[in-house]
Structure formats: structure tokens, C-alpha cells
């Protein structure tokens, strides 16, 4: 049996000492470990930029940069291939333009309603439901565009082809409504009430307060939400892949098939482009273009919301 004696003082000191050195070790090690975690996000960005730059560079060894940005033909699979990014950019911007035309009036209207008209109770119900709309996986929207929106549109526009720019454009627009509504609502809600009350005291109607007082005061946040939504629409992939088709063209025709930058990347990944072929490297050049587009928009949104914010 073990002896039930009191520990000697020297033993206690030794015990405490080892405990403290362990404590010291964790106190020192933990921040280092956490720093490593934080650095991973930086490494991710560096990884993205280097991957894109490196493989894009390889691509431009076989295709001239001038052809890439000026040629109006994108036929990578032809025996005599053309690599002009313009058709893919046109397709992307066409879908984005339709999306933003759908999303701005609806999203902004909803934002004004939620921030200026709705009661606290109603806002608490509607806002989460709108956010469900943002949480629906994009493949579901793609399915919806192809099997519901396109057939419905064809009854109105008979010469609409099965794959077209209109239907995915509208559906991408629906997808980004919550983004505009939610961010714009945040911006308008943060306009101080004293300003509203000042306008009411002068005899303004609710509409006039919303449009002429609150909206201008929140304008930077509202415009930033538009830009972010555009950036999201540009990067959207599955909806345009499923419902937009695979027909890169510079013609601006919403009724016929198009191809966006994202849809092209998916098309190549689905097929078996040989590793190391020009087609394989072309997805990086397209990805780089896409990355630059969205980066510019995101940075723009950041500066708009920061620079033109009115301080109260």
C-alpha cells in the first residue's frame, strides 16, 4: 500500500516548477499556433494568385496576349483554335446586366420597405426568409432556370432557344436579390432617426423621406451592395452552365445561347482536356480574367462604402 504521507516542501516546489514551465510553454505556443492558422488565409490568397499567374503565363507561351484580348473568336477545340476572350466576357456581362436589372429594383424596393415601412415584427420574419433565398444551392437555381423559367419564357418569347442568356440572367438576378436587400437595408437602417424626424416635421411624406432623405444618406452603402452583387453575378457558375449553353459569341442577343467565363471553365473540366494542352491552360487564363474582374469590383465596393460614407 502507498504511504499516506504529506509531500515534502521540496517535492511541492519541484511539482509547482514543472507545472509552471508547462504553463509557460502553452502560453508561448498557443499564440504561435494561432498565428499559423491566420497565415493559412494569406497563403490561400498567395496560392490563388500564383497558381493563376503561373499557369496563365504558360498559356501565353503558345497564345499571344494580343490575340487573347482582341480576337472576337473563342474556338479552343477547333483544329485551328482561336483564343479571344471577348465572347466569354460578353456572355458574362450580358448575364450580369440582366441579373442586375432584375435585382436592383426588387432588392432596393425590398430594402426600403424593410427599413422604412415594415414593423419590427415583420422585419424579423421577412429578413430570414429572404436569406433562405440566398442559401439555396446554385445548382437548384440552375435546375429551376432550365426546367421552369425557360419554358415559361418561351411561351412569351417563342423564338427563345432552350439555352439562352435571358433565363439564367433572371435567375441569377433572383439569387442576388437578398444580397442587395440585406446590405442596402443595413445601410439605410443605420441612418439616424433624427434626420427622418426632421424631414417629417417639415411635412414630408413617408416616400419623400425614404427617397429624398434616407436613400441619399445611405447611398454609399447602397451602391456598394450593387457592386458586390454584380461581382457575385460575374462569378456565378452553375446557373449559367446549366441554362446558358456553350456558345461563345460577341453578339448581344438574349434569346440565343451564350457562354460565360465560368461556364467555359466547367465545360473544359467536364471533358477530358489533356493535362498540359493549350485548352487545359486556357482555363487558367479565363480564371485569371474572372479573378481580376471580381477583385476590381470587390475593391471598388470597399472604397465606395468607405470614401463616400456620410458621417453623422
Amino acid at each position: 500500500m502507498e504511504m499516506n504521507r504529506e509531500k515534502s516542501v521540496s517535492e511541492l516546489i519541484a511539482q509547482n516548477h514543472s507545472k509552471r514551465s508547462l504553463l509557460k510553454f502553452t502560453e508561448n505556443a498557443v499564440p504561435k499556433f494561432l498565428l499559423v492558422c491566420a497565415v493559412v488565409s494569406i497563403l490561400t490568397t498567395i496560392g490563388i494568385v500564383f497558381t493563376l499567374l503561373f499557369e496563365t503565363f504558360t498559356f501565353f507561351k503558345t497564345v499571344s496576349f494580343i490575340e487573347f484580348i482582341t480576337s472576337k473568336e473563342w474556338h479552343p477545340m477547333h483544329s485551328n483554335p482561336n483564343f479571344g476572350i471577348l465572347p466569354l466576357v460578353t456572355g458574362t456581362l450580358l448575364v450580369t446586366a440582366i441579373a442586375i436589372t432584375v435585382a436592383i429594383p426588387i432588392g432596393l424596393g425590398a430594402a426600403i420597405y424593410l427599413s422604412e415601412y415594415a414593423s419590427e415584427k415583420m422585419r424579423k420574419v421577412i429578413k430570414p426568409v429572404l436569406e433562405v433565398l440566398a442559401g439555396v444551392p446554385t445548382i437548384v437555381y440552375g435546375f429551376f432556370a432550365l426546367t421552369f423559367v425557360t419554358p415559361m419564357l418561351r411561351q412569351v418569347v417563342p423564338d427563345l432557344s432552350i439555352y439562352n442568356a435571358l433565363s439564367p440572367g433572371i435567375v441569377v438576378g433572383i439569387m442576388i436579390i437578398p444580397m442587395i436587400a440585406s446590405l442596402s437595408e443595413d445601410a439605410m437602417s443605420s441612418v439616424p432617426n433624427s434626420i427622418r424626424q426632421g424631414a417629417y416635421a417639415l411635412g414630408a411624406t413617408k416616400l419623400e423621406v425614404a427617397i429624398k432623405v434616407v436613400l441619399p444618406a445611405a447611398l454609399s452603402g447602397v451602391i456598394a451592395s450593387f457592386v458586390l452583387a454584380m461581382s457575385r453575378a460575374i462569378g456565378e457558375t452553375m446557373i449559367v452552365t446549366v441554362a446558358g449553353g456553350a456558345n461563345p459569341t460577341t453578339a448581344i442577343d438574349v434569346t440565343s445561347a451564350i457562354q460565360t467565363m465560368t461556364a467555359y471553365i466547367v465545360q473544359v473540366s467536364l471533358g477530358d482536356a489533356t493535362y498540359g494542352s493549350t485548352v487545359y491552360y486556357s482555363i487558367y487564363a479565363v480564371g485569371m480574367t474572372l479573378f481580376v474582374f471580381t477583385l476590381v469590383m470587390n475593391v471598388l465596393a470597399f472604397f465606395i462604402s468607405r470614401k463616400f460614407r456620410e458621417e453623422y
Partner: protein, 292 residues
Amino acid sequence: MEITKQSQMIRNIPTRLLKNKIFTLLFLLATLTGLLVLAILLFRIFSQGIGYINWDFLTSFASRRPSDAGIKAAIYGTIWMMGVTAPIAFTLGVGTALYLEEYASKNIFTKIIQMNISNLAGVPSIVFGLLGLTLFVRGLGLDRSVLAGGLTMALLILPIIVVASQEAIRAVPKELKEASFGMGATKWQTIRRVVLPVAIPGILTGNILALSRAIGETAPLIMIGALTYIAFVPENLMSQFTVMPIQIFNWTGRPQEEFQYVAAAGIIVLLGMLLIMNSVAVLIRNKFQKRY
């Protein structure tokens, strides 16, 4: 002298009021549009797909015949991938958030990390797919494995987790921390025993929401080569795999019309899974969120 023409103003009042009424209605309509579309979307998918949902659908592999097609491989693939993504994204995300909120000093380096994270959140998911393809599939030679897919997804949802965790950690009252320091606790003891227990409901909610985003993502996994036709369940981290959105994408693209209904059935399963995850997130938030 009059500053305003009173007669003119009085004449304008009815139009202004009418405008006010019309626009109130328009704003309400705009709000309801979103909800209406959501309702139509759900109704369509349920009426198309519900007839195809049965035990066989959940326990069969993909097939060329619509009536035999099932979603088993995709369900297992999704769960396997989450098994890789969740722990990695959680560790990295919460670690980053703790570093930024508790340890980082306010210098340029911290600012760069913070800006970098919000910037990463805006990078299109397909670009993460390109990164995964180059780094994990080719660079590390992981091939088209569950591991490569899970790692790619972990990087994709990292920014969402960091931002959500930061908010949760920031919401911990200062008094609690100061009391802990006052009792002689060290920094890490305070974080582990005071900050994290208080912040964990918020952190978990953010994590679950981020994971439900990952479950619905399709594009990056197409990039890294998750396959659309698989008739087996992953056996280890290096197995090939498919996930639910990719299976649905594959069915949507089939020419036979009946596959549309199969796709709708797959969507119901996917939405069901998302609904469960989101309900758990809301439950955690409501049940365990203490207010100080």
C-alpha cells in the same frame, strides 16, 4: 413676403399622398417577389420530385435507367467530404479568429490579414476549384480524392467561419475577461475557460452555416474532378467520390425527361439536409446563447 406659395403647395398635397400610397404598395410587392419566387421554386421541385423519393432512391447507386437511379453514393460522398472539411475549417477558422481578436496587435500585418479574409470571401468559388486542382490534385498528387475535395472546400468556407467566429468572440463581455485576469488567470486560461465557452454557440452556428454552404457547392468540385457516375461508396480518404449537387447536375443535363424528376428528388434530399443543418444552427443559437 411668402417663402412658399401656399396655394401651390396645397394643390400638390393630393398627388404627393397618392404617390406615397402607390410606392408603399410597390415596395411591398418588391419584398413579396422574393418570397413568391421561393414559394414557386419549392412547390415546383416538391411536386416534381416527391413521387420519386422512397427508400430505394436513398439506398441505390446511380443508374442509366431513371427508375433505378439512386443517390446513395452522393450522400456518402457528401458525408465523407464533410468529415474532412469540418475539422480542418473549424480549427483554422476559429484559430484565425482567436488570433485576430485576442492576440494580434494593431499593425499593418493584422490589417492585411483582415482585408485578405474579406477579399477571399468575394473570390468566386470556381477560382477555389482552380486552386484545388493545381495545389491538391496535381501539386500534392492527391488525385480526385475525397481528401482533395475536402481540403478545397475547407479553404472555400474559411473566410465565412473566420468572420462569424470573430463576431462571436468580440461579443464576449470585457468584464468577464477582466474578472478572469483579476483572479490571476493567464491569457490562454482566460480564453479557454471564459471566452470560448461564452462564444461557442455563436462559433458553432457560424460553422454549421458555412458547412451548409459547402454542401451546396458544385463548381469547385467539378474542377477537382469529383465524378458524376460512381457506383460505390468511398472507402478511405483517397477514394474517388461524388457529392449530391454534382449528382443533381448530372441528372439535370440528361436528355431523358424523366431524369428531371430524379434530379428534383435529389434536390429534395439536398434541401432536406440543409434544412436540418440550419435548424440545428438556429436551435443552438436560441438555446445556448446567454445574454450578459
